[in-house]
Amino acid sequence: MKTKANSKPEQMLPLGDIKVQIMAALPGAACEIVPNPGPSGQDSLRVEPASVLAVARFLRDDERHLFDYCSNVTGVDWLDQTVSETVKVAGTDAAGQATELEEKVERVVPGYLEAVYHLYSVAKKTGPLVLRVRTGNRSDDVEIPSLTPLWRSCEFQEREIFDLYGIRFSGHPDLRRLLMWDTFEGHPMRKDYQSPDETLAFATANGKEDV
């Protein structure tokens, strides 16, 4: 039996090249590479919500990429972070002379919610390309475009993220809670979620810390 020579899996282009191609095809797109310093070295591509639909469609349809399969969508909750920085301010030293003094300043980086998409190309046998989309904050500006119109496999996973993290996906055909019941309030996978059982008089009664 004659067998067709196995098409060799292509190597995925470096993320930097993909970004260059995106910028060339979509000049208005806003995206950046988020480096991963861990052992996997799996860098990811962060796209602004305004341009994510165009970028995703480009990655799916462009002949050089053909990311035809979205295998996984997950949510991440990033809390507010306090970053301490050292800045130089003008002042006077012990002798009374003008000099520059170092001062520690604490700055709060506001938190946000993030949806992470893992894209594969079955046609080209490449992947994964990690696509990140971030919301404006964790409270009222939590709407990002849904990618369900591009990859049908996103539908339930975006519903799950809506349920557990509270990201609203605009353009989703059926955005309802998936795991919790419809009248449930809150989003249990957020880091500041308090389980109602903890309010029962168990370990933390009498104002004491958990032993």
């Binding site: 795991l179 019941w181 449930f184 309030e185 809150g186 979620y193 109602p196 059982d197 029962l200 009664a205």
Partner: protein, 219 residues
């Protein structure tokens, strides 16, 4: 056991030797019920696999008269809560229990059904089915082996055989005024509403809150 104050055990033994067996209606009734337990055929998680294994050829629960798993609560008299009860599933479990006819019994099988088990601190798991329905036998394990389930069934049979049909301490099914239905919890904002049935369950006192506890630890 003396069946009647006028009949002594010696008499009973003498009658037994002649092939005459004397017993009380209560003993006969309980003996029959305890050897014909019909469990409800439903499983919630991995414990159900062990429950199924207990009914199969190797462990053979039929030896103890509990092999007729019924697919309808109307025909069952033993509910084996086998597995993790999520908060979303809890109302259905309580409703199934309510639909079973008296006399009915509950075995809480495995760590999850007893207390929530490894998922106790999760947002979605009920911390023990005994918060909503009365449990007769708890079988610890994660999951319990079929032998443990068989032991639980035998314990339940012993409990059934000791039940009274009359008197102030009679069994629930012999008491017309006893509670036959338990309220089905509803889905609330953050938890089930109510989170437990206060008539049959209450939160344990906080650790080390009472003086008795502390003195116990000091000695």
């Amino acid at each position: 056991m003396a069946v009647d104050p006028h009949v002594t055990e010696v008499d009973v033994k003498a009658l037994n030797r002649e092939g005459v067996h004397v017993t009380s209606l209560e003993s006969l009734y309980n003996w029959g019920r305890s050897n014909s337990l019909w469990p409800l055929q439903f499983g919630l998680a991995c414990c159900a696999i062990e429950m199924i294994a207990a009914t199969m050829a190797r462990h053979d629960m039929a030896r103890f008269g509990a092999e007729v798993f019924r697919p309808s609560p109307r025909q069952a008299d033993l509910m084996i809560v086998a597995g993790t009860v999520t908060k979303k599933m809890a109302p259905m479990v309580v409703r199934l229990y309510n639909q079973m006819p008296e006399p009915k019994y509950v075995i809480s099988m495995g760590a999850c059904a007893i207390s929530g088990g490894p998922f106790r601190d999760g947002y979605n798991v009920l911390n023990g089915i005994d918060r909503f329905i009365p449990v007769d036998v708890f079988i610890p394990g994660c999951p319990p082996r079929p032998e443990a389930l068989l032991d639980g069934v035998i314990q339940l049979q012993e409990k059934i055989r000791s039940q009274k049909l009359s008197g102030p301490d009679r069994a629930r099914h012999a008491d017309k005024s006893a509670c036959a239905e338990y309220p089905v919890p509803e889905y609330g904002g953050g938890d089930l509403s109510p989170p437990y049935n206060p008539e049959i369950w209450s939160p344990p006192p906080p650790f080390g809150s009472s003086d008795e506890d502390e003195s116990e630890f000091e000695t």
